[in-house]
Amino acid sequence: MEALAILFGAMFTAAAATGLGGLVLGKSCREYAVRFVTGAAVLSLAVFLLCVVRLAYPAAFVAVGAVGVAGLWRERGVLQKPETAPAAGVSRIEKYIFCLIFGAYFLLYLLNAMAPEISPDGSGYHLGMVNRYLNRHGFQVITWDIYANLSQGIEMLFLFAFAFGKHSAAAMVHFSFLVALVWTMVCYGRRAGMVRPSVCAALLVFASPVVGVDGSSAYIDVAIAAIAFTLFYLLQLWDGCREPRLLLAIGLLAGFGFAAKYTAWTGVVYALGFVWWKGRRWRDLALTGGSAAALIAPWLMKNWLWLANPFSPFLNRYFPNPYVTISFEEDYRRYFTHYELTGLGQIPMQVTTHGMLGGLLGPVFLLAPLALLALRKPAGRQLLLAAAVFGANYFGNIGTRFLIPPLPFVALALTMVLASIPGLAVAVAMFHAAISWPAMVPRYARPEAWRLSPRIPWKEALRIRPRRYAEFYKESRLMGYRMDRLIEAATEPGATVFTYRPFPEAYTSRRILVEYESAENQVTGVILRTGNADFADYLPVWRLRFRFAPARLREIRVRQTASGADLWSIHELRIFDGADELERRPAWRLTANPDPWTIQAAFDNSLVTFWRTGEAIHPGMYVEVDFGGTETADSVLIETAPGQWGIRLKLEGRDARGVWRPLGGEPEIGTVAPPLGLRRAAAEEAHRRGVDYLVIFDDETGAADYRLHAAGWGLREVGQADRARLYKLP
């Protein structure tokens, strides 16, 4: 039954999308694959709207899907039969061999897609969000997870399928995009009079190891490639016939690319530029741009309203907000431009053969530079332009899967060139298919490379004796799945679990807070480290005291004047008149630059909470206290943690006449013994911030402190799984 549900969920989604695509395209384009991808844009938008009004129920999906299926049914006699056999234009022997190879890979990917979802991002945030949206029947304001801030156009389709067939149905939807992609590549070749090269290119893409594992998982990169290529295809089609209806589809697809992934914004520019360059008509541009905006605007508005940043989690320097820090964004970007490589010259071998950047394209793609020879032909120039458009953002994230969107264009240009030598394109394609089979890949790729297992999971896919095989499959292949099961069994519904490392959120109904995934989670992570003796730099034992002649003041300001990589933090700021600390009054007004939202934490009498800049120190940062009157003071004490050795602080005061002047000189810096009760205070503060449970992996720094001093923390160990422990907070 589960297998049937999976198939129904996927096929219903595909049928609905295809039908909706037919409503958009009408007679202007009759290829099923193109209609599917175009209709997917409309279906995605429909699901988005249902999520906004909190009507994301299976019944609502059935109603929307019925519209599409009805359209598909209505045109069943009108649609042309599928295009002439994909291998038309090739020899009979080649046709049989191609069919065999495509068929083998099709079955391989189908079974992997139907098998329980075990991909890192698929079982993590892609379907974790989908699971959450379905449980809540729509969107909720999520400020604790940067991945909820990304555009999720494909996740909307996953949600549609997930409602019927759960995780594997969503993966099957992505697989549908892979099938549509290669089908459209062959259709393009037929129209362009280059059948053999297009079939060979389709095989190069289809058999590519990273395309296979990505396309049979609940990822989105293959979908982006399908959208990109379908957009290209329709632009070429429109250029030939100038049918206005195609512009509507082109705009929808361009917008859908952005709605699926921010990096596809180049497709919008490409589409608008192409339409203008070829037609120079404002009406055409307006139609294209308007339909693109219909897909783009909702995601931007959602983020703007909920997160104060339409492009969250990026561009936080231009849209300051308390949800994502500038320092995190910069670190995040910096990591993905290099991963662990020591030089960018390592990229070609890693992305084609070794696979250490998250998968491999296949060694034959070392021939990709030959594709430049296709510039000699108009079609080649179009293909390579498209490759440049959809590969323009690659160096922002050098993971192999970020090369999937431009891959079809590169493959087509390459096979165009190879086809100039009889038999060469076919030989290369078949060689690629042979060495890309999962059992062959381990012979040249690194063991850690992301790829399909040599073992075909047919029993798991068909859910034969589901409890025995499917559960064992997930437990043995998906790190963190056992912890999911433990969390579901040992915590109460609605519980919140904090972890420093992500684990598959798609298989738990609890709220999972991953430390790096938001500013508030990062603060919780630091609060916990404040109480952990293994993190000396986080213990609030630093004391910086400014002393000055007694003065009547209206305001004091602590100004940071240095530049560097440190983040500046203050756990407590105290103001004294002699031995007496000034009482903190409601009339006091506290401000800070940057990050004014958390300044109260420096005045709450808790050493485990703190104000902290969300970006590296630079001149212009300050913390300011307006007394709302005048106070007499002669010293200011800052209680904080070390680990910010680069800061340079100056104290200023505004006197009764309103004049700002320096107060005293450099602060006296000393340390004190760690205050008692930090562990308990940190745990209680984390609980106050909404955390009910902690997951700590045994090999994490600080794990021993939680384990050995559980009583001091007030923690109770609830269970262990996947070399991690689940603790309940006090």
Binding site: V672, A673, G712
Partner: protein, 131 residues
């Protein structure tokens, strides 16, 4: 935890010490008592770094220091030689008052009398509670 070098050390002293520290240490007299505010936390140990100087050991010989928390005996520490000692002892929860001030008396059984009636016990560097 208080170090005798801390400018705020006097806030931890109830009685029985010289009025000021000699840099990083201070003379404890015949009835030294300290006070500590103890918040909620895990199990605690009482920690003390002290020295029995040669000049007083020559008068007193081996000394036993009785440690009492909130008036109830915690332990008796035997010092058989002159020199430095690092003392550490778990404190049962029933001896403590959480979220309140707790007193700790560290009373030597013998002292070395000085002119003016002062009775020198030992030299304290730091004392307090640790998790």
């Amino acid at each position: 935890m208080v170090a005798m070098s801390d400018p705020q050390a006097d806030e931890y002293i109830v009685e029985g010490f010289r009025p000021s520290s000699e840099g990083s240490w201070r003379w404890a007299l015949d009835h030294p008592v300290l006070r500590f505010y103890l918040p909620d936390s895990g199990p605690l140990e009482f920690v003390m770094d002290l020295t029995l100087p040669e000049q007083t050991f020559a008068v007193t010989g081996p000394v036993t220091i009785r440690i009492a928390v909130n008036g109830r005996e915690l332990d008796r520490m035997r010092c058989d030689r002159a020199g430095a000692y690092a003392y550490r002892h778990p404190v049962a929860e029933d001896l403590l008052r959480r979220n309140a001030t707790n007193t700790v008396a560290v009373t030597p059984d013998k002292t070395a009398p000085r002119e003016g009636g002062e009775k020198l016990g030992f030299v304290l560097s730091r004392a307090g509670f640790a998790e």
